[in-house]
């Protein structure tokens, strides 16, 4: 039995309680509430494929894109943007291209750089669509300048009519090529529909006058930070008035020719396999206002992506690629939902920002990350839905509980109330 009058709960004890509360219990409670408000991982997740749903909506379920059918925003000036578009294609390397190609006209390289969804570059006052020297204005990079000029600042849309350079990916996966069998099939793999994407850079000699191009090769790197945007049409495939628990972005470098044997990418001997750390952060944009979600999600992976053989598309083997899974915590899930006016996804766009690091500490440089370069890549986007009421209830109860506990601790920290002393008074 304790001696009468001895103080067991000294100021030192209370300070320990405070420290344990802040760096022990509170973070645990936060983690608990966050995880309960999140669906967690595991193999039994019900992944829905955004890229498939959109392709189904547009072409009919299971149908293939029709050859010649351009994405919704073909050459029209009044379109509202393509479904998946670059928001930032890395570091501006225009000066290097200009240095390597001194005979290029200035506007030939203007659209190589995209920042905040806008193609940076000057407006070419001589250009107009009707008098274009280019056979197909669809491929004319200067459209991009024109619209960027007219709609400067409205980076949600309007600047992405031109598919090259500004484009990130579109549902028209393939084009008919009877010699290779590369034809109009939707590219499906492992339950997901993949879209074809344009790499960060574009070969100069494919749109500039060839006489002007002395060096059309890729400069070798595009930086280590990129972002792309899902527009309202894409976001509309998310469940209306429901929350999203996870996103999965599957990206791989599509070989130059279908069915090409990726011999240079031997699973064991290819020297380009690297371990990567990919930080992904999501931003929701509604009516021009961007809200960046609070958490950066880290994916540790390598750039080796094994694919089983697919008729017309792939021989089996290792390709450059990876999966990035963004398992939103409960707070981000809820914040995303609230920012989108309660899950009105068709009124919002989402910007996906990815930053790459090599885990060996070496600079990223020319490390292949699937979409750097000037060819094609494949992308599929999947998501997992979670019940909005469950998340709201859990986070509400958790936050009220933690907030209430903070207030109680604050009161107990004053000289005016000592709950421990009163509680134990007369008992010990």
């Amino acid at each position: 039995m304790a001696k009468k009058g001895k103080r067991y709960f000294t100021p030192l004890t209370f300070n320990l309680v405070a420290v344990i509360w802040i760096i022990g219990f509170l973070p645990l409670a936060v983690a608990f509430v966050s995880n309960v408000g999140s669906g967690g991982g595991g193999d039994d997740l019900n992944w829905e494929n955004t890229t498939k749903e959109y392709t189904d909506l547009r072409y009919g379920e299971g149908n293939s894109p029709i050859y010649g059918d351009q994405p919704l925003c073909g050459v029209q000036f009044n379109c509202t943007g393509v479904e998946l578009a670059w928001d930032s294609n890395g570091v501006d390397r225009t000066p290097i291209y200009e240095y390597n190609n001194p005979d290029l006209d200035g506007f030939d390289v203007d659209c190589l750089y995209i920042k905040n969804g806008l193609c940076e570059g000057s407006f070419d006052p001589d250009y107009n669509e009707a008098n274009s020297n280019y056979a197909n204005p669809f491929y004319d990079v200067r459209d991009c300048d024109t619209t960027a000029f007219f709609f400067q600042g409205q980076y949600i849309s309007y600047n992405q009519e031109v598919q090259y350079n500004c484009e990130f990916a579109d549902p028209n996966w393939s084009y008919t090529d009877p010699t290779t069998g590369y034809t109009d099939f939707r590219m499906s793999y492992d339950g997901s529909t993949f879209w074809r994407g344009q790499d960060t850079h574009f070969a100069l000699d494919q749109y500039a006058t060839s006489a002007n191009v002395s060096d059309g090769t890729y400069v070798g790197d595009s930086g280590d930070k990129f972002s792309f945007r899902l527009n309202e049409l894409m976001m509309n495939t998310l469940p209306h008035r429901e929350m999203v628990d996870q996103f999965r972005f599957t990206i791989f470098d599509y070989p130059d020719a279908p069915l090409a044997n990726p011999a240079s990418h031997n699973c064991d001997t290819y020297s380009g396999w690297e371990d990567l750390e990919i930080s992904t952060q999501l931003t929701i944009e509604v009516e021009g206002e961007r809200t960046k979600l609070s958490t950066k999600y880290i994916t540790e992976t390598d750039n080796k992506f094994y694919i089983e053989a697919q008729p017309l598309y792939f021989t089996s083997g290792c390709y450059i690629g990876y999966e990035v899974i963004v398992d939103l915590n409960g707070f981000d899930t809820r914040e995303m939902y609230n920012v989108a006016n309660g899950g009105k996804w068709n009124e919002s766009t989402m910007i996906v920002e990815m930053e790459f690091e090599r885990t060996d500490g070496a600079p990223l440089g020319s490390t292949n990350i699937g979409f750097n370069g000037m060819d094609d890549f494949a992308i599929a986007i999947d998501y997992v839905q979670i019940d909005a009421q469950q998340v709201e209830f859990t986070t509400n109860v958790g936050l009220i509980g933690m907030g209430g506990a903070n207030i109680v601790l604050a009161m107990a920290s004053t000289p005016y109330w000592d709950p421990f002393k009163n509680f134990f008074k007369g008992r010990i």
Binding site: P11, L12, F14, N15, V17, A18, V19, I22, I23, L26, P27, V30, A31, S34, T291, L293, S294, T295, N329, F331, D332, R334, E335, M336, N338, V339, T395, N396, L399, I400, M402, G403, G404, N406, I407, L409, A410, M411, A412, S413, T414, P415
Partner: protein, 97 residues
């Protein structure tokens, strides 16, 4: 920025409290030792809260209004706690009186 300041305040209070109590108990006799210990505890607890827990994310989401009324309530309650501790520390050199 506000969130960083809030987390910094919390971890500073923690380190001051721990080192202060240790000093009262006879440890860290010199000012340099106390400063080093306080800095170390502050940095470690800051790293812990920011990098290994989702505490900062919660404060951010609450502050931006993404969690609605309960988020503001949590920020308010946490702020009250910090203010009381700061007040206690100034007046009594301890967090909890």
């Amino acid at each position: 920025m506000m969130i960083n300041i809030l987390v910094l305040l919390i971890t500073t209070l923690i380190s001051m409290s721990i080192v202060g109590k240790a000093w009262e108990a006879g440890a860290f006799g010199g000012g340099l030792g106390r400063a080093f210990a306080g800095g170390s505890v502050g940095v470690v607890s800051n790293k812990f809260l920011v990098q290994y827990t989702q505490f900062e994310s919660l404060l951010n989401a609450s502050f931006t209004g993404g969690l609605g009324f309960v988020g503001y309530f949590f920020i308010l309650a946490t702020s009250i706690l910090i203010l009381v501790w700061i007040s206690n520390f100034i007046e009594y050199r301890t967090l909890i009186v």
